[in-house]
């Protein structure tokens, strides 16, 4: 809406679109932000493993082989076997599918829905803010475990339900943090000026507020990705998540892995490492991505 072209252009403080090609952008990212590059590489590796699971796993992850139970890592089983003789490496490989599915599904949905609510709440203020805040507060007040347990108990143990159970507690958290950032932006002079100039809500939100909450949004998202994977493993550890004999990293850390922690440590070490590594990677990458994208933080 070109009410006042010069003012319009002056108020366009959006993120400058980089003119670099994709390849150059990636190279620049790897050079300037090595930590993030490492994180990204691990993530790509994880995705590849998850996609190619049937091709790269040597054994069927659910078949019992009692002759080989509790075997230490060897040529036949690179990471050893578990209490039922199942190959740990194969279970890790297939487990990445569950982790990524649940992780991505719940965190992307949770962070995004939360961000939309947070920005709307901050922008519109007044009654809208009040009511949204109260509803968010109500859901935020529930400890994760009870909400997750209730949802799992009502909906059942399948993977889509698990995604929902993990996503729902994330929405109000994301909303709250995004709202606090958006609040600060809302007070900025250029937003007031834009309102005075008569720009409609959608434009202001999309072009002025959203890009400026990108930073906390991305941090939230990558934190959530990691948290979702951790939550899934905690739920499985408590017996509320994915069910045997489906391979999932959290499930592998349950029961037998703890009891055999001294006698057969490979059962607990590798799934724990897998979880830690993936959460680590997501956070590293997210951190660096945020640094790279935020124009005001470009180091001179």
């Amino acid at each position: 809406m070109a009410l006042n072209p010069p003012l319009d252009r002056a108020l366009d403080v959006e993120v400058p679109r980089t003119r670099l090609g994709v390849r150059e952008a990636v190279r620049e990212f790897c050079v300037r932000r090595p930590l993030g590059a490492v994180g990204a590489a691990i993530i790509v590796l994880m995705l590849a493993v998850a996609l190619l699971a049937p091709l790269i796993a040597r054994y069927d992850p659910v078949v019992n082989d009692f002759a080989a139970m509790l075997a230490a890592p060897s040529g036949a089983h690179w990471l050893g076997t578990d209490a039922f003789g199942r190959d740990v490496l194969s279970r890790l490989i297939y487990g990445s599918r569950t982790a990524l599915l649940v992780g991505f599904g719940s965190s992307v949905l949770g962070a995004t829905l939360g961000a939309v609510l947070g920005v709307a709440s901050a922008y519109f203020g007044g009654r809208v803010d009040l009511y949204l805040q109260r509803v968010m507060d109500v859901f935020l007040s529930f400890p994760l475990i009870i909400l997750a347990l209730a949802l799992v108990a009502i909906l059942g143990n399948s993977i889509p339900n698990l995604i929902m159970a993990i996503m729902i507690p994330m929405i109000p958290r994301s909303a709250l943090v995004i709202r606090s950032s958006a609040l600060a932006i809302r007070e900025m002079p250029y937003v007031d000026a834009a309102r005075a100039a008569g720009f409609n809500h959608r434009r202001i939100i999309l072009r002025h507020m959203l890009p400026n909450v990108m930073a906390p949004y991305l941090i939230m998202l990558t934190a959530f990705l990691g948290q979702a994977i951790l939550l899934e493993s905690s739920l499985s550890f408590l017996g509320l998540g994915v069910q045997e004999p489906i391979p999932a990293w959290g499930l592998m850390l349950r029961g037998a892995a703890v009891e055999f922690a001294e006698a057969a440590p490979w059962m607990a070490i590798f799934p724990g490492l897998a979880i830690s590594l993936s959460v680590f990677a997501f956070n590293l990458f997210g951190d660096s991505l945020r640094d790279a994208l935020d124009p005001r933080l470009k180091t001179q």
């Binding site: 507060d137 109500v138 475990i145 930073a215 941090i219 408590l238 850390l253 830690s276 933080l297």
Partner: protein
């Protein structure tokens, strides 16, 4: 300022009511029944007659709205009812465990803040140097490890390497501070380290944003000392989102440390929660949720007060 605070105080009430309602309904939707559970045990079967009479005695056969009203009226009179599983008064069940969980939450938050703020500021000031990388790796590592994994590894380490085990039974702080701390310091460290990660990164990112603000650049140009700038302007404004995160997490530490409490064998609220859910002990569960929700809402309110103090712009909306 007073009007603002009163307004925020009054807003707590509908939230509390909302929580009460949602909790009440939500737990009754979950399949399973406390009476069935109590009298089926390992052997499996008890006559239906006994089950029906027990249900009537506890009050489970009355219509839902009546149960809700009874509960609400009870709260107003500070009578929180009795546990459906043990028959003991709820206050008694919760008292000891709440003190432990509260102490653990406070200790863990102190650990987290002591780690997060200096590390976050340091990391922001020395952005993209190896100090920055080291701090980020350290804090992310804490975030990445599953809490139960960390706990199990810690306990194994203590047993195998140090041949020492923390005290098994809880002693309150004023009875025997040494034993009390000897038991709680380990979970506080484990939990604090994990929670410091988010706070560190928030501090770092908030500091980075603020350091680039115009008024900071102006102050620098005017020649004010670095330290003064930091203390006066940067930190104060960076604290807003950091405070949000710390306050949120603190309120959750009270009921949310289920796995940690299991691993370190702490008789706290988290464990009570899991037991109450497993037993479908509605009255206890309702009281626990209200307790945790109440803590969260009070903390939220205190946060609002702090917000208003730190950022005058918000006060006058």
């Amino acid at each position: 300022m007073h009007r603002y605070l009163i307004k925020r105080f009054l807003l707590m009430l509908p939230t509390l009511f909302g929580v009460a309602l949602v909790t009440f309904l939500l737990i009754r939707v979950i399949p399973g029944d406390v009476v069935e559970l109590r009298y089926s045990g390992d052997r499996g079967s008890v006559s239906q007659d006994i089950i029906d009479r027990e249900r009537a005695r506890i009050g489970l056969d009355r219509p839902i709205w009546q149960q809700f009203m009874t509960w609400m009226l009870g709260i107003v009179r500070f009578d929180f009812g009795t546990s459906m599983w043990t028959g003991a008064p709820i206050l008694e069940e919760i008292k000891l465990r709440f003190v432990l969980s509260l102490q653990l939450a406070i200790m863990a938050t102190i650990v987290a803040v002591l780690l997060a703020i200096p590390l976050g500021v340091l990391s922001a000031l020395k952005q993209d140097t190896w100090i920055d990388y080291a701090v980020r790796l350290f804090s992310i590592a804490g975030l990445a490890m599953p809490s139960f994994w960390l706990g199990i590894v810690l306990i194994l380490l203590m047993l195998v390497v140090f041949k020492w085990l923390p005290p098994m039974v809880y002693t309150p702080f004023w009875t025997n501070p040494v034993q009390n701390l000897a038991q709680l310091i380990w979970p506080a460290l484990a939990v604090g380290y994990r929670y410091s990660a988010v706070a560190t990164r928030m501090t770092r990112s908030a500091m980075l944003e603020v350091l680039r603000e115009d008024y900071i650049r102006t102050a620098r140009a005017k020649g004010l000392m670095q330290k003064l700038i930091l203390a006066r302007h940067a930190l104060k404004n960076a604290m807003l989102p950091v405070l949000t995160v710390v306050a949120l997490e603190f309120a959750f530490l009270i009921g949310g440390l289920v796995v940690t409490e299991q691993v370190f064998n702490l008789n706290g609220i988290g464990l009570l929660f899991v037991q109450a859910v497993a037993h479908r002990d509605y009255t206890l569960l309702q009281a626990l949720v209200m307790l945790v929700a109440g803590s969260f809402i009070v903390v939220n309110f205190l946060m609002d007060v702090a917000y208003a103090w730190l950022d005058p712009r918000i006060r006058y909306r």
